[in-house]
Subunit: 85 residues, 2 copies
């Protein structure tokens, strides 16, 4: 039987990488114009809840995926807040 964690980690790589182009663009242009703070705050809160869920059901792939996503989302939120000043 295939270990579900293999599929989980593959899924984690894909859904986490979907955020990367946005993060790179912000880093390159040093600007977060046009991005919705509300969307990233909702996404960040949701991702934090998935992390707690992963810890509770002891799922390694959910824990890793959401820890990485939270780091990227915090990076994006920091830039959005800075550029609003």
């Amino acid at each position: 039987m295939l270990n579900p964690e293999y599929i989980g980690f593959f899924a984690a790589i894909l859904t986490t990488s979907a955020f990367l182009p946005q993060a790179f663009k912000i880093w390159k242009t040093q600007s977060a114009d046009g991005l919705s703070l509300t969307m990233y705050l909702v996404m960040g809160t949701g991702t934090s809840c998935w992390l707690i869920y992963g810890v509770l059901i002891q799922s390694p792939s959910i824990i890793v995926a959401n820890s990485v996503s939270i780091s990227i989302i915090i990076f994006i939120i920091t830039f959005i807040v800075r550029s609003k000043k």
Copy 2:
């Protein structure tokens, strides 16, 4: 002990709703200009893998969250492909 599924479903509502403003905007303007097809294809593939993972570990909140997300992502991809014609 708190049932992890409560946190899972709360997380599901938040991370799924983060996609909704984009879907509404596409519906209202009938345009998907500026959206990255690659990003949504990667996100769609990743979300499909999370769905398989959810079925394998028998997690109701992961199954529901990713089924809803896949529907929204397919809707967005359909508009991006149509607007490229």
